[in-house]
């Protein structure tokens, strides 16, 4: 449906986006996930037509978007700060795009109604948008974006300002709504949990480049590099050196690995559930933190040589306790 081909853009001679290629299928929700400043918002604005790329092509349904002005693209967008029209009430905010299309008043009423129903704001038509709660404003913005039935809906961190509980609930609702109407959507966020909840596929952006595209599980299971792993909150990453085909050397010692194509610049990743407490283990460490996670405890421990490790355990340990840690599996990723 949406096809980005080799998009590049610079700002003040510094590259902002570099050679971005991405395709979004009809009815698919793709999430652009990356830290702030990675260029994801710029990419969204380029797709919307609010900014132009220096190189590359944007195709939508096979049509080149280069010469289509913003208001004729029929793409929807929900902005970071919502950008509700403060001088219009809820109804007029939602009806705005329909009025621009010169749709008959009766139909406008039905479609605004539909959109408000969809977001659960029936009866809010005459309310002043300035006096709504944060969550309600979010819903108005969504209804406004949905009302003209855009061919593509884009979200620019639309939930950034909300508290966690509300956000989690809204993300789930949002996905349900988008799926119900089969909307093609691009969702930009820096919050990995939001991304994993809403997305069919995730593209991870770093410094203006897409570093990995894949299904959520895929990305979680095989992060493309150390940046992705770290960004997804993974710890226990250590520089590694391959000593032979089946063996690597790290600060924690040497480990056998399966042969792979990766050669230099390696990082060893140990997932916390792959480290067990074992009194006889070779690696000795002192517990510095012990927190409860649903069903198990997460331990932070520092080895005698000063390396920090995170592991899991079914039972708690007091801070300061000396334990042995045993590494069960190790993965290799690109640095």
């Amino acid at each position: 449906m949406l096809e980005l081909v080799h998009i590049s853009k610079t700002y003040n001679n510094a590259p902002l986006l570099h050679d971005i290629s991405l395709s979004v299928n009809a009815g698919e929700i793709v999430c652009l996930l990356g830290p702030s400043g990675s260029g994801k918002t710029t990419l969204l604005r380029i797709i919307a037509g609010l900014e132009s790329a220096e190189q590359g092509t944007i195709l939508f349904a096979g049509q080149d978007m280069r010469n289509v002005p913003v208001h004729q693209r029929n793409f929807g967008m929900m902005f970071q700060d919502l950008a509700l029209f403060p001088h219009k009430n809820v109804f007029e905010n939602v009806a705005f795009a329909l009025r621009m299309q010169k749709i008959a008043p009766a139909e406008i009423r039905t479609r605004v109604q539909e959109a408000l129903d969809l977001v659960g704001l029936r009866g809010f038509e005459q309310r002043d948008v300035n006096h709504l709660s944060g969550g309600e404003q979010q819903r108005v913005a969504l209804a406004r974006a949905l009302a003209p039935r855009p061919r593509l809906l884009m979200f620019d961190e639309p939930l950034g300002a909300l508290d966690r509980i509300l956000r989690e609930q809204l993300v789930a609702d949002l996905r349900a709504i988008l799926k119900r109407i089969g909307m093609t959507a691009l969702y930009v966020t820096h919050d990995q949990e939001e991304a994993f909840t809403i997305a069919d596929r995730i593209a991870i952006i770093h410094a203006g480049q897409i570093v990995q595209i894949g299904f959520p599980a895929e990305i979680y299971q095989t992060p493309a590099n150390a940046f992705v792993a770290r960004f997804l909150g993974m710890t226990n990453l250590f520089p590694a050196r391959r000593t032979s085909d089946h063996q690597i050397e790290t600060l924690l010692g040497t480990f056998p690995v399966a042969s792979s194509s990766l050669a230099d610049n390696l990082v060893a990743l140990v997932r916390p559930d792959r480290i067990r407490v074992n009194p006889n283990a070779e690696i000795r460490a002192r517990i510095v933190e012990c927190t409860y996670r649903i069903g198990r405890y997460r331990l932070r421990a520092v080895t005698s040589s000063g390396i920090e490790l995170t592991s899991e355990s079914p039972e708690p340990f007091a801070v300061g306790t000396e334990v042995g840690l045993e590494i069960h599996a190790i993965e290799l990723i690109q640095a």
Binding site: R45, P69, V70, H71, L84, F85, H87, F96, M100, N130
Partner: protein, 557 residues
């Protein structure tokens, strides 16, 4: 140190007394004194029986409306360009647009004459090109030149007030409209215009009142056939000494101004929206496409031609005799006791301007906050209507000095102010009366749009009330204060009508000195007037640039 916010707000309301005291002492009291002395039924009888005055009234409104419309149309693109783009020389350009505002009318009249007069450059050129016997442009002493001159003078009001507000408008709202399918024109009409409407209306109001009470432009450029109320008041007061009629006319002018203000405050209250204001660094961008560059620079070029050619005529003519006119300024050739060394005139002007800024900005700030506070209360309290009425009434009262004839007030001072009549302070006080409404108008839209949440957030974060004001309000309203301060400055530098009535001859301003030179025949006098006008432009431009350069903090609002 965490005082409840309401307490500061209460003290703010008490502060309201200061602008009121000021207006009471220096405006209402002398005004009442002169009206009381001169009021007689005969004045009103004369007013209503002679249809001439109805025509004067109608013409006053008509020319003011027409001038306001043209000023808006001419300056609107400039407001947009200066609000939304960064380009080299923007500050210098904006400072230049302010210069006309402070030029003495008689100097501008000679400059217009040099360009547009029957033997002006334009007419001579056209006559030569097309082999004409009579000058094709016959604009002197017509409505046309009145509108032209008013646009020339008041351009900067629209540019600064609308542009200042526009500069902080969140562009994301416009982007949202674009994405929702609105083209540029629809976005402007349905979104941008309603959001900047409060500033557009505030600027229109000021321009209208200025045009409505216009004096020099009508008298000198419009010629004796076209008279406004203000001109008629002057004639009746000074030349015919018919004080009853002058008082009746003054009252009509006051009532008209007041009615306008009340209508305005109603509109303003309805149109104002709580807005998220954005720093300039987010709002402004560089010129990118070739089309953008051509349009913007094309417009700016036209603007410069319109605003600067009369000024250039003055500067060029001031060098007609090489530097003679300038060197002559320093020589007291006749040993006259009335001689004014130019440095002294510049110093006096700057002193008066600084005092005016101080007075007008401090009073204006207090007044703006108090009005907003009353407005807010009108939304939350049961006595809402009362508060709204009070706020609207006070807001309207503050504007009245703008609608009052300088000569009426000047005569009121003679009657009412006792020993203060010859005080040096009367000059900045008179200037403040004119500048204060400008400061209030520049501040109000911004102060209104500061969301109380911001202040509350800062307070909860442990900021003292003073700190809250400095950290939250000040950075946001600084730009508006600056706009107000620049207005106070140029009003003070250029004001003549009131100055001539209250200034002491031992402390003449640049403008007064210019008029003195033009009061006598002779090439050297004319040349010195132009040289001093050039100095006035230069000093003012430098001062305006310096003021605009001054900022607090790094985020430019």
């Amino acid at each position: 140190m965490l005082r409840p916010l309401s307490l500061i707000m209460k003290s703010l309301n008490l502060l309201f007394i200061f602008p009121l005291l000021f207006l009471g002492g220096f405006y209402f009291y002398p005004l009442a004194a002169i009206l009381q002395t001169s009021f007689a039924r005969g004045g009103f009888m004369e007013l209503v029986t002679d249809p001439y005055y109805a025509r004067v009234f109608a013409f006053t409104i008509f020319q003011a409306a027409l001038s306001t419309l043209f000023t808006l149309i001419a300056a609107f693109p400039a407001a947009y360009i200066f609000a939304r783009y960064t380009f080299r020389g923007a500050n210098v350009l904006r400072a230049l647009t302010t210069i006309p505002f402070l030029m003495p009318t008689i100097v501008v009249a000679t400059a217009f004459s040099a360009w547009l007069g029957p033997r002006g450059i334009l007419n001579l050129t056209l006559m030569q090109w097309f082999q004409l016997d009579t000058p094709p442009i016959q604009i002197m002493h017509t409505l046309g030149i009145i509108v032209l001159a008013h646009t020339f003078y008041n351009f900067t009001i629209v540019l600064r007030i609308v542009g200042g507000f526009w500069a902080n408008l969140d562009p994301q709202i416009e982007n949202a409209a674009r994405v929702l399918g609105a083209n540029r024109w629809q976005t402007f009409w349905h979104i941008t215009l309603p959001l900047i409407a409060p500033s557009v209306i505030a600027a229109s109001l000021l321009v209208f009142i200025f045009d409505f009470t216009s004096f020099g432009v009508i008298l000198i450029l419009g010629g004796p056939r076209l008279a406004t109320l203000e001109v008629e008041i002057y004639r009746q007061t000074v030349n015919l000494f018919n004080l009853p009629l002058a008082a009746a006319l003054s009252l009509v002018q006051l009532i008209a101004t007041f009615t306008l203000m009340v209508a305005y405050t109603h509109l303003q209250a309805r149109l104002a929206q709580p807005l998220r204001l954005r720093p300039l660094t987010i709002v402004r961008r560089t010129l990118r496409t070739a089309r953008e560059k051509i349009l913007v620079w094309g417009y700016l070029g036209a603007m410069l031609i319109f605003l600067l050619t009369p000024l250039v005529a003055i500067v060029a003519a001031s060098f007609d005799g090489g530097l003679t006119y300038y060197t002559e300024l320093w020589v007291n050739r006749r040993g006259a006791i009335t001689f004014v060394p130019p440095i002294e005139a510049v110093r006096n002007s700057l002193w008066f301007a600084c005092a005016t800024i101080g007075l007008a900005v401090s009073l204006g700030l207090v007044a703006a906050y108090a009005i907003v506070q009353m407005d807010r209360r009108s939304n939350t309290q049961s006595a809402g209507m009362l508060f709204r009425l009070r706020a609207a009434l006070l807001d309207s009262l503050f504007m009245l000095p703008l609608g009052t004839s300088a000569i009426t007030l000047g005569f009121g001072y003679i009657l009412a102010l006792g020993n203060l009549r010859t005080s040096v302070w009367l000059v900045p006080v008179a200037h403040t009366l004119v500048a204060f409404p400008f400061v209030v108008r520049s501040l109000l839209p911004i102060v209104r749009s500061i969301q109380p949440r911001l202040r509350e957030a800062a307070q909860l974060l442990g900021a003292s009330p003073a700190r809250v004001w400095r950290e939250i309000d000040l950075p946001i309203i600084l730009r508006a204060i600056l706009v107000g301060a620049v207005f106070a400055f140029v009003i003070s530098m250029g004001e003549f009508g009131a100055t001539v009535l209250v200034a002491r001859p031992d402390l003449p301003t640049i403008t007064l000195a210019i008029y003195r030179f033009l009061g006598q025949p002779g090439n050297i006098n004319f040349g010195q007037a132009l040289a001093l006008s050039t100095i006035l432009m230069l000093v003012s431009a430098i001062a305006i640039l310096a003021m605009e350069h001054w900022r607090i903090g790094t985020t430019e609002f």
